[in-house]
């Protein structure tokens, strides 16, 4: 008991003495409704946080070890579960790692479908980001509307992959597991109109969000690089780092898109970056559907699932830009059918531990949810 109560705080002003010890520990999460399966231990002095300590591990499932006991196709299914909010992007990272190890070049159509699915996944993930950011700052209508619009994109996923949230390894080594069904392109274009409706809603003037997030959780650009920030977080701090443009994979080098950058580095800037990125993603999907060639969607030798495909000996490090930042897989094979070692590098591992601790230091208690959710956080991909 660090808190000594001497005198009643709620009586007249004479009885309040400065001798009250205002230092105490405060737990944000893991059972807090607004924290996800993740906790932060805050040391608080009055209303100001003096130090923060992240407490991860509530979702640790040992993916890296699990993957050592499964063939690549089963790992593709497993890689969905790396992050609930953007399984298709994680599918893509895993599939690319195996492709590069096996020396397989997916067909052109498969590459375009992969990009379309990854970008749709990014849009719906940013919608969730907006939704949870709204609920963190006390604007609940935004949360409901964002999740409502997200369902239109989930309808598309259901049509193409067969599952609403989990595509079950739709993007698999060698291409994608099945072709787009009849009329899927038109459905996607229709859904993009819905997404644009959502973007217009997000762009509307919103006094709640503005007052709660402007100037809150400022991340300077030199701190951003020091603490390992990537993705929208670092772009809101003035560094234009985007794996899609800097280290292009799939067909991103043939598509025209911009990397939005802001220099303020606060929670509001990150929120604006989210909106800009959704716009760019819509643009990318439109282009990809325009350019979508005909042909095979998976290399012939991998079309039928096989149990004993050997992964050639080697080592790759594949990086992708997912909605939250830079995702990477370091895969080592010793020539057997299982990968020897898989290292999964999730963006939130850096965002949620060193970066969050840094941003929370010196912040007000009331700003914790705004800072926390402005980082586009997913505990699942931090714990792995």
């Amino acid at each position: 008991m660090t808190r000594k109560m001497r005198g009643n705080m709620f009586t007249t002003s004479e009885s309040i003495e400065p001798a009250i010890d205002t230092n105490y520990d405060l737990y944000f999460g893991p059972a807090h409704p607004g924290s996800g399966n993740f906790g932060v231990k805050l040391k608080v002095d009055g209303e100001v946080i003096t130090s923060a300590r992240a407490d991860p591990g509530y979702l640790h499932r040992g993916f890296e070890k699990l993957m050592e006991y499964r063939i690549p196709l089963q790992n593709a299914v497993l890689s969905d579960r790396l992050c609930v909010l953007e399984p298709l992007n994680w599918n893509l990272v895993h599939a690319e790692a195996v492709d590069e190890l096996m020396g397989v070049e997916p067909p052109e159509r498969a590459k375009y479908i992969r990009v379309i699915m990854a970008e749709l996944s990014r849009i719906q993930s940013h919608m969730i980001w907006y939704g949870v950011f709204c609920i963190g700052t006390g604007f609940e209508s935004g949360f409901k509307i964002a999740f409502g619009y997200r369902d239109y994109i989930l309808d598309i996923f259901e049509l193409i992959t067969g599952g609403r949230v989990y595509p079950a390894g739709y993007i698999c080594p060698g291409g994608v597991r099945r072709d787009l069904p009849e009329g899927a392109e038109e459905r996607i274009l229709e859904t993009l109109k819905k997404a644009e409706e959502m973007i217009r809603f997000e762009e509307m003037e919103n006094p709640t969000l503005l007052s709660r997030s402007k100037g809150v959780g400022v991340l300077k650009s030199e701190d951003a690089i020091r603490l390992g920030a990537t993705g929208p977080v670092i772009r809101a701090s003035g560094i234009a780092m985007d794996v899609r443009r800097d280290d292009p994979y799939e067909v991103y080098d043939k598509l025209d898109f911009e990397v939005p950058v802001r220099t303020e580095g606060d929670a509001y800037a990150r929120y604006l970056i989210g909106i800009e990125e959704m716009k760019q993603s819509v643009k990318i999907v439109r282009q990809a559907i325009d350019k979508l060639p005909a042909g095979e969607v998976i290399v012939p030798e991998l079309r039928k699932p096989k149990l004993n495909t050997k992964i050639p000996e080697g080592e790759v490090y594949v990086r992708n830009e997912i909605a939250r930042g830079e995702a990477a897989i370091h895969m080592v094979s010793n020539g057997s059918k299982y990968p020897y070692r898989v290292k999964v590098r999730g963006p939130d591992f850096l965002h949620m531990i060193p970066l969050l601790e840094h941003l929370l230091e010196g912040a007000q208690i009331a700003d914790v949810p705004a800072i926390y959710w402005s980082l586009n956080i997913c505990p699942a991909d931090m714990d792995r």
């Binding site: 067969g162 079950a168 509307m204 039928k304």
Partner: protein
């Protein structure tokens, strides 16, 4: 900008809601939805590939109890839906198309023992070896 919000608000009052009234209407389920597995005994060759590819080991090849031995001579897939992640790899690998995935997703239950789909006509006590 304020007028835009008001306009949006008025529009929302008359527009259709995003949700549907579930039991009476529902959103269409696409053709290739991955729901509960349907198993066709006539096509099954007992190769056991579905059991080997299953990432969660939800499929087990079991022998029929003695009273069914005549019609079911070999080993057949028993699917534990409690373990199934509905990835559809069993459907993809099945060489004869015996195992397919249906659109049925009404699978919630209070009794965990009912999640096991036994490939024989009647529910019988099966002991896994």
């Amino acid at each position: 900008m304020k007028t835009l919000v008001v306009f949006k608000l008025l529009k929302n009052m008359v527009s259709k809601p995003m949700t549907v009234k579930f039991p009476s209407e529902s959103i269409p389920i696409p053709e290739k939805y991955r729901g509960e597995q349907v198993w066709d005994s006539a096509k099954c060759t007992s190769c056991g590939l579905c059991s080997k590819i299953c990432p969660n080991r939800a499929i087990e090849m079991v022998e029929a109890p003695p009273e069914y031995k005549e019609n079911y001579a070999k080993r057949y897939p028993m699917i534990d839906l409690g373990k199934c992640c509905f990835c559809g790899l069993c459907q993809d690998i099945c060489p004869t198309g015996s195992l397919t995935m249906s659109k049925n997703f009404f699978l919630s239950t209070f009794d965990p023992s009912t999640t096991i789909n036994i490939p024989f006509p009647k529910r019988v006590e099966l002991k896994a070896e």
